[in-house]
């Protein structure tokens, strides 16, 4: 086999998978994983580790895979990550660890992500228990939100010996891993629920249906319920709309709503009650991972799908792999195109989307070339459903009920990059609530830093 190329990973055929919600990627088996591990040079000064937001000891875990000692590999990853089966699936490895892999200079980088996934899946299958704390600290920490940042922070604190309780607003644990990312990218029962259980096995307590800011406040957690520190990992927030005519029409949804109905509420399954208007012809507006997820969900529900994005292909914020998968499955990309109006019929239902072609002008604040409309280039796409995947604005529930919590100009919580400490004593924050919508792994990185910050704070208290 060509040592410069990755061991290919088996995937469901695009035509078949376009009609089901089974996972797209099958992952490596034992033989494939060991063959891929052989490609790792085990660099002394491993550049890949610098690209990992949680600094997993990549060469050592791959070495263990090479030797066929998967349990050892799992524990090496476990020192730095509590959710490897999730990261192995949804991390943008191509711009992180794998981008820095020496092997990638002349050939293809080692498939670090797929190896991580293999090790994590093997551990879930063999029910390998994570290492738990040796001694109790005797201090209580509340973690708000059971998404990637909260789970990571909770897991790390439990390993240090803290008494941790996670409060989740919804009825299932996992945050965006459950309501946002679809089943075909991240299986809920097979992966998310099991990873949550691993965190539970570390001694973390979980309470669902508690909306901090409504059911109780951050101050009440600290003063009435006796928590010594609080971590806020409440996630991204309220969906944005464009403010164009027709957005209130029936058949126009936020990606959050569409995905939540399908993923959290399992509307795609006959045996669940929540309805979804799948649409026959769907336009998804936006170019991020959420847009790809919404588009590929609509496709699986039987629709013809168009992605409408105002910049060009190179600026698509979604992961390369997701864009590739979407194309393979037959999703149409209308690039350099921006909606100007959603067209409706007499019953106020969506019947089309009026768009205008764009061209790239001078670079804007983000460094990307600003898209400007091409005059007179309006055209209509006939659709019955429009899904807006434009990002989110921070949820006001916690900031508006927590005195002394400083917000920035974008209304995100201000927190220290290294410790997660906010302007309020004993209160830490991380993930999308601080950064605005970002990735799972960045949120995990923030949860991890905050766990260290909380430990430092409570050790000196």
């Amino acid at each position: 086999m060509d040592n410069m190329k990755k061991v290919p990973v088996r995937e469901q055929d695009p035509k078949v998978r376009a009609t089901n919600f089974e996972e797209v990627c099958y992952g490596y088996n034992k033989e494939e994983a060991m063959a891929e591990a052989e490609r790792c040079l085990h660099c002394k000064n491993a550049k890949c580790m610098g690209g990992c937001p949680v600094s997993i000891n990549i060469p050592d875990f791959i070495q263990a895979v090479k030797e066929g000692d998967f349990e050892k590999a799992y524990h090496i990853i476990g020192e730095d990550s509590s959710l490897p089966a999730i990261c192995g699936r949804v991390c943008p490895q191509e711009t992180q660890c794998e981008q820095l892999c020496i092997k990638g200079i002349k050939g293809e980088a080692v498939s670090i992500g797929k190896l991580e996934r293999f090790v994590a899946d093997w551990a879930l299958e063999h029910d390998i228990k994570p290492a738990t704390a040796k001694a109790k600290k005797g201090k209580k920490v509340a973690v708000i939100g059971s998404g990637p940042s909260g789970l990571t922070c909770a897991g790390d604190l439990a390993k240090m010996g803290y008494d941790v309780t996670v409060f989740e607003a919804l009825h299932k644990y996992g945050g965006v891993l459950v309501y946002g990312i679809p089943e075909f990218r991240l299986p809920k029962d097979k992966v998310v629920a099991k990873e949550v259980k691993k965190v539970e096995e570390l001694g973390v307590k979980f309470e669902k249906n508690v909306i901090v800011g409504k059911s109780l406040t951050v101050d009440q957690l600290m003063y009435d319920e006796g928590f010594d520190a609080v971590f806020i990992g409440s996630g991204a927030g309220l969906p944005m709309f464009m403010g164009i005519p027709g957005e209130s029409a029936n058949g126009c949804f936020s990606a959050n709503e569409y995905l939540t109905r399908n993923n959290l509420m399992k509307a795609f399954r006959e045996d669940y009650d929540t309805p979804i208007i799948a649409g026959q012809k769907v336009a998804v507006v936006g170019g991020g991972n959420v847009a790809m997820d919404a588009a590929r969900t609509a496709l699986r529900l039987g629709a013809e799908v168009h992605i409408v994005y105002r910049r060009s292909e190179t600026e698509l914020p979604a992961r390369a792999e997701e864009v590739e998968h979407a194309k393979q499955e037959g999703i149409d990309f209308q690039l350099l195109t921006n909606p100007v109006e959603i067209l409706t019929n007499d019953e106020d239902h969506v019947v089309g989307i009026r768009c205008i072609r764009m061209e790239l002008g001078e670079p804007d604040d983000s460094g990307r070339r600003r898209p400007v409309p091409v005059e007179g280039s309006e055209f209509d796409i006939e659709v019955d459903t429009v899904i807006m995947a434009l990002g989110t604005t921070p949820n006001p529930l916690i900031p508006s009920t927590t005195e002394g919590l400083e917000m920035n100009r974008k209304k995100c919580i201000v927190a220290d990059d290294f410790t997660g400490l906010t302007s309020k004593a004993g209160v830490f924050a991380g993930g999308d609530a601080v950064t605005g919508a970002a990735t799972v792994i960045l949120a995990m990185g923030a949860g991890k830093s905050a766990a260290k910050g909380i430990d430092e704070y409570l050790s000196n208290k």
């Binding site: 508690v210 969906p239 209130s248 399992k266 009650d273 309805p275 949820n395 006001p396």
Partner: protein
């Protein structure tokens, strides 16, 4: 966990139950709502809080059976458990943030239509507890569908009206309102109208005529109830608001009711089919006229 007690049918299609939900009860206020999910496969639906008992840790929910979830709810018996309940959600009524001395100077009118009597009750009760008088118009289609008459009479000056004249005043709530203002010389500073969307729309039109500030409580389609899905968005004047976090109470003279009513119909066909399927059980074979098997 969320144990059901006192489950009862009030009138045809309208039910009540108490649910053990200490986290909700600890901080809930008049005007707020909860989200309920009956079982693992169930959907999340918003329900207004009708009453709460802080010592027992229970909330009283009143609901009308309209779809699968409310139908399933109505089948729960004492001792059964709800799969999920969360809250309190939404902003409390503005009344409770108004100084009591100011409230005492105001003439306050509530207009309650149908199952809307349930969310009106905790507000009127709260006023009564703070020594503030209020008038309540309680309307229903007919005498047999009237709910909470006795409870509302305990906390307010109650005016009952039925559309068919079978009990109390003869006419819609708006006719009763016109009668109070025009014939009985009543003057109001504030009207809080809660009920079916069409009732709130016409109440707001009537109060506008008299220049009475009017608050309505919106109960649109929702999934999470925390601001995340945006399904509950509505126009208040030129602004788009989310009923779950910005509401549920809004200025009744600024709400775009026609748009809100159309949005609330979005899932009607799907819901109807799902309910038929549930009610017909094994004998169900489509029921929608599309399967060609209708016997």
């Amino acid at each position: 966990m969320y144990k059901v007690s006192n489950a009862r049918m009030l009138v045809d299609k309208i039910y009540a139950m108490d649910v053990e939900a200490p986290r909700v009860v600890a901080h809930c206020q008049p005007g707020q709502f909860v989200i309920v999910k009956v079982d693992e496969q169930g959907e999340r639906i918003p329900l207004t809080i009708c009453d709460y008992d802080r010592t027992k840790g229970t909330v009283t929910l009143v609901y009308q059976t309209v779809g699968t979830t409310t139908f399933k709810l109505s089948e729960l018996k004492d001792g059964d458990e709800l799969c999920d309940i969360t809250g309190p959600l939404g902003r409390p009524s503005d009344l409770i943030d108004t100084p009591v001395a100011d409230l005492k100077k105001m003439n306050i009118l509530f207009v309650a239509g149908g199952v809307g009597a349930a969310p009106v009750y905790p507000q009127a009760k709260w006023l009564k507890e703070h020594g503030v008088d209020c008038d309540v118009i309680l309307g229903s289609k007919t005498k047999d569908l009237l709910i909470m008459e006795k409870k509302l009479a305990e906390v307010s000056n109650l005016y009952v009206t039925t559309d068919d004249g079978s009990y109390g005043f003869n006419g819609m709530v708006t006719a009763q309102l016109e009668d109070l203002v025009e014939k009985q010389g009543k003057k109001y500073d504030l009207c809080v109208a809660i009920g079916p969307m069409i009732m709130m729309k016409f109440t707001a039109l009537t109060t506008k005529k008299y220049g009475i500030k009017t608050v309505v409580s919106m109960n649109p389609i929702m999934v999470d109830g925390t601001g995340m899905c945006g399904g509950c968005r509505l126009h208040v004047g030129d602004e788009v608001k989310f009923a779950c976090v910005d509401g549920p109470e809004f200025d009744g003279h600024l709400i775009n009711f026609d748009e809100a009513m159309k949005r609330s119909q979005m899932y009607k066909t799907l819901e109807g089919r799902a309910l038929l399927k549930l009610q017909e059980g094994d004998t169900h074979h489509g029921g929608c006229g599309e399967c060609g098997e209708d016997a």
